[in-house]
Symmetry: C2
Subunit: 723 residues, 2 copies
């Protein structure tokens, strides 16, 4: 609708306003996510219409999931083609879409599709002929598979893919595909930058915001099948009857869409809400309390997924408070859930105040010795890297190192360390980089993806979690481009081999338009955006240089916090002579936590590569880089590159103005202005600081920071969100 | 669209879903407030169309306000009539709407309208003939007046009022018509129950949410002309350059709509952000600091309205910290603002920890002696009653008692003490009760309305403020019916003589439909709803029986808080012998703060009336009431009545199901279920408690509370919003 209008005279604008009011067309406010069913271009509509005349979904009167499928296809096809398909009891003409399990439909059975290959959640979408009529079948072994297949069918239209001759088979490689909401009961969101929690705990279970349904639709559309509702820094109150009733109301809304509800469990809940005087896993009263609590939960939520637990980490209570191991703690909860089929996701994000060991090593040191001690329904949830969701980290050394224990991935979708909601950073390349990393645990090809999809060590229980970037903002994620990170997480959770660029292209088509200029430019922006953040924040393998607490803006000079590993100075170790964290055998020897070939590469200055150089090595400022510059010059160069990349991205977006609707164009343009300003701030502040340490002159032609180091050090942001 | 559909078969529903997707019609989610321009019934459209063919707004290319008028009329008329008027440079046919000042239009000048009577903000709307063409003129002395008149014209359509022969003149009786937002810089809202603050401070001034414009439109539509952006419990940070730039960005959005920005000022800001070691009003450095701060603000916001100040109240800093009076404190700020034309709104909501005087008397005692000491640009902001926004209070005794000082009204629109966002309570009758109360300050007819419109004591500076119930919820106020309270506040601010019932009828027509059943039933609900809350919470003049802190739910038993006047027991004073607060000359003698005839009436058990009986009198449980019941029986009866009223309201709403769209019907129905449950809770808990005190049997036929007193006392709500 907007894509060909280069200049819109005022009269036309007024007319558009009138049209909007008269027909109720709402602005492109981003609410629809990838369920945006705005009409396709006329030629695409014409092409698809004959193929999508008739919808046949046997049993849709009875089943909530089939009803949801019917509603979605009527709405989606109707919107995209400006003509809804008729709903029919049986196939009786060309252009049918038959959505059914073989069990429910004789026509599907007659096709002899290879449904045995699809598992419980998979589906196929096939062009075929039924009794002389040509059309499309979506088949699966379960209604949920049909739902996923139906969303795939809609995606084909949204991406203008051919329906004719289509033959798609798809099944998820990972079992638990979850969002983790770090949402508190007061509706604040830890590390949330898109408004407050979408869970209106106060008004639940009485009031059911229509948004809950749209949340389920959006997640089902990308294959997400579970959600942890509350913060890992959990309040025990979420396990009280009052709050369980609220969680149950959400579970009821989500159930038709195959989204299971999970809760973060506070380990000390038996004390805080149970009236016991211990939470010791070996205490029979504690064991009984958790068993009864599980029974109570499953009475309310029969398909409850299980618990996520952050224990003995950053002040949270845990089994070590009673001299028990993480395995003993996890198994306590696992045994309570086991009779009901629930799982425990036990987080490996631990590091301890009084432990002088390199923080990057501590999780491995704590957990690897426990391999084999966890119950069958426990899965250990490991962050992608060994520190904490930095713009770039090496993959976590636990991946591949615990063959007897299922490990699940924890990605962060919300950009705690990558510019909050305002910086454009597409995380697809970051996820891809981690998933494709080779652990060499069982020889070459032992990728992280194979660890978490269970294939490397033969685990059935598999999982992947993304810390959600979702809030009450109208566009859900604080910006249109942040939606891409939720989207790509879902797509890669379904299949960790999925390429970030392919997903980017789909997302751009669905979100903006099929215009080739939009697609080419948008793909460029998405592809380079995360590296830009790395460059202007923490280039060359540096990490954790953010300001204290809220993690907003630069703070490389901070070195006075109580715990050493809270200080940026702990991570960069810069002084007059050099910079970087020596994790070779000369230093913390963190490299030894990786399998041999990886350890060797990381330990080698020449093989590790620029991206992780200072993560593993402490080097003199005049260390010669492959670029021909020395390390100091290269560092400055990277900061400049980061700023230049943002400036380029801003110009690219500006060039799309005639091709993007006004509301989303304008907000994105304003955010890119913020990002450019803040990239410059990061660059200037970081160079000012590192120069004060290195005492080296700026390379010729490099602009000095706009202000003094003291200026940057004095900047304070007392009301930063998410903290 | 919904009003004639009694049964909607499933196929139709699906079709509606398709239509919604295909045309982008959004659900009735309440976002549009009273700017809901959904098409009128066909006959109304036919009637109006010939009268609204042509829009003539001279100068609309240049002026942002005229441009806003044009946009609003095109959108409004276009939506309501499903046909937009043409925009024309001059009147050249029947059915014109000419919007212009006499200065801008020779055609308007030629009409010789009595514009001198309209003042700066008033307007007239007239049917007339211009050069042989019949049409309507909106005239005013200012563009803002034209905007108000244009919104009135749209309201005529929305309420299906005749345009033919229309002759309306209107001007506001009160100068400052403001919302007070108790919004914090972290986006939390004190006493907010509709999500978080709509001010996205973090992303301002870079990102301008379209909601800011819609906020301005909605307020201008009801004549509100100012907004205090931040909480009266203010952070000094809102006066720093960084936050002033954010406020300025909002002011820029609001300016075309005549909404001025004000800020709550923290009295100790010179210390906290100014680097001074005192905030003493007599200190020249302090005076200079405020003068410079005012200069700085006006450079950014040339039409900045002024400061609202909560000082020496509930822990806030103030002039008394330095031994200075409220007048000296207010004048300090007033002198800084005076060169720029700004005002100081100094709140009279004060009561002190160490003051044993009846809390209801303290504001009067503090302020009345200062009458005459305030600078000309100071106005004292007084809550409607002497305690704190209770479901019912007598009017504040300061009204009428400070003839030399302009007093402005502070109403609470958010329902801190009336069931948060979930209970349906239309506050129009409460506002009306206060505004029409006769202070007798200058003899009979000295109503509160005449105090605050300045006519009683000849003040030019006049004002009224409402503590906003606005948040980030899609429907702005947490429920559709809460919108009515924002609406009626605006209408009564414009003209304090406006009747609550008339406004209710307008609001129902605009918000739901013109269906007579909806109107009759809706008016019944609105009219009785506030009295229902009084009856099930604090009947017969009782007050402040709410639970501690968050004020959610009953807590009449609370008596152990540090400050006596924080305890419900302080207010009800119930014991075995009786109940009520003796404020006669035998007691605190608060009655003496009222003018003689009022004081006499309040002091008389027989004349004061049931509504305020226990506010002013401590009476034995067997005191004979006019109903024939004794006081104990009457109290129980009132609680029962309150519950019955809610039950009735719920049934009334249920009867409207076929006539209301599904989304708003359902949410309201669910909230009424909450309200019924909670009314019962209030009734049961209160009766359980008062019976434990009175030791009297329940009257025959009265149901005992469902649970023991201990049960109710044990109920805790740790995550209540707004606290």
């Amino acid at each position: 609708m907007y894509s060909d209008a280069f200049f819109i005279p005022r009269a036309l604008l007024l007319f558009a306003v009138f049209l909007a009011a008269a027909t109720g067309v709402h602005a492109e406010d981003g609410y629809d996510l990838w369920l945006r069913y705005q009409p396709l271009e006329a030629e695409a509509r014409e092409k698809y219409r004959p193929q999508l005349r008739q919808l046949v979904i046997p049993g849709s009167e009875q089943s909530p999931t089939l009803k949801a499928i019917e509603g979605e296809l009527v709405r989606g096809v109707g919107g995209l083609l400006k003509r809804a398909p008729g709903v029919s009891a049986g196939v009786n003409g060309d252009g049918f879409v038959l959505v059914a399990t073989p069990k429910a439909s004789r026509d599907v059975r007659a096709q002899n599709f290879p449904v045995h290959k699809l598992g419980e959640e998979g589906y196929l979408v096939r062009s075929t002929t039924i009794r002389g009529h040509r059309g499309t079948v979506v088949a699966a072994n379960s209604e949920l598979g049909l739902l996923y297949g139906s969303f795939h069918l809609l995606r084909l239209l949204q991406t203008r893919s051919a329906l004719e001759g289509v033959s798609i088979e798809s099944r998820p490689r990972i079992g638990l595909r979850l969002l983790n909401h770090w949402d508190n009961l007061d509706r604040s969101v830890e590390r949330g930058y898109a408004g407050q929690s979408i869970w209106d705990w106060w008004n639940l279970p009485d009031v059911l915001d229509p948004r809950y349904t749209d949340y389920a639709r959006a997640n089902a559309a990308i294959g997400i099948n579970g959600t942890v509702l509350n913060n890992v820094n959990a309040s025990a109150d979420s396990l009280t009857p009052r709050y369980l009733a609220k969680a149950a109301a959400l579970a009821d809304v989500f159930r038709p869409y195959g989204i299971r509800v999970y809760l973060s469990a506070r380990f000390s809940a038996p004390v805080e809400i149970g009236g016991l005087d211990t939470a010791d896993p070996k205490d029979p009263d504690v064991q009984r309390w958790w068993a009864h609590k599980a029974d109570e939960i499953y009475r309310l939520i029969p398909d409850f997924g299980g618990f996520l637990v952050k224990a003995n980490s950053e002040g949270q209570p845990g089994p070590q408070d009673y001299g028990r191991s993480h395995a003993e703690g996890a198994n306590l909860l696992a045994r309570a859930l086991n009779p009901h089929g629930g799982v425990v996701m036990w987080r490996a994000f631990v590091y301890q105040q009084d432990n002088p060991e390199d923080r990057a090593k501590q999780a491995y040191s704590d957990f690897v010795p426990l391999d084999g001690q966890f119950d069958d329904n426990v899965i250990v949830q490991v962050k992608n890297g060994p520190i904490d969701f930095q713009p770039r980290e090496p993959f976590h050394p636990m991946f591949g190192a615990m063959p007897k224990t299922p490990l699940m991935m924890e990605f962060q979708i919300t950009k705690e360390y990558l510019g909050f909601a305002s910086h454009l950073a597409y995380l697809g390349p970051m996820y891809e980089e981690v998933l494709r990393a080779d652990t060499f645990a069982e020889g070459p090809g032992s990728t992280v993806a194979k660890v978490i999809d269970g294939s490397l060590h033969g685990h059935q229980l598999t999982g992947i979690a993304g810390v959600a970037n979702i809030g009450s903002d109208r566009d859900w994620t604080g910006s249109t481009f942040n939606q891409a990170n939720w989207y790509v997480f879902g797509r890669m959770a379904w299949n960790p081999q999925t390429g970030a660029e392919e997903v980017a292209r789909d997302w751009l088509k669905i979100t903006f338009s099929n215009n080739p200029v939009v697609l080419t430019t948008g793909q460029d922006m998405l592809r380079d955006s995360r590296q830009a953040v790395v460059d202007y924040m923490t280039p060359l393998g540096l990490a954790h240089l953010m300001a204290t607490g809220h993690h907003y803006g630069p703070g490389p000079w901070v070195s006075d916090l109580a715990r050493p590993e809270w200080n940026p100075a702990y991570y960069h170790r810069a002084d007059k002579n050099g910079i970087g964290f020596d994790r070779t055998s000369e230093g913390s020897n963190a490299v030894a936590q990786y399998a041999d070939p990886v350890a060797k590469r990381f330990a080698s200055r020449s093989d590790v590569g620029d991206d992780l150089l200072l993560w593993f090595h402490h080097l003199p400022w005049d260390y010669p880089m492959t670029s021909g510059r020395d390390l100091w010059e290269e560092l400055v160069h990277r900061y400049d590159t980061g700023v230049a990349e943002v400036r380029e991205m801003r110009a690219q977006w500006q060039s799309l103005e005639p091709l993007i609707d006004a509301e989303r164009f304008d907000k994105t343009a304003r955010l890119l202005r913020v990002q450019e300003r803040e990239a410059q701030w990061w660059r200037d502040a970081s160079i000012a600081y590192f120069q004060s340490v290195s005492q080296r002159p700026l390379p010729e032609g490099v602009a000095p920071p706009a202000h003094s180091l003291e200026h940057y050090q004095a900047v304070k942001y007392p009301w930063a969100p998410g903290h």
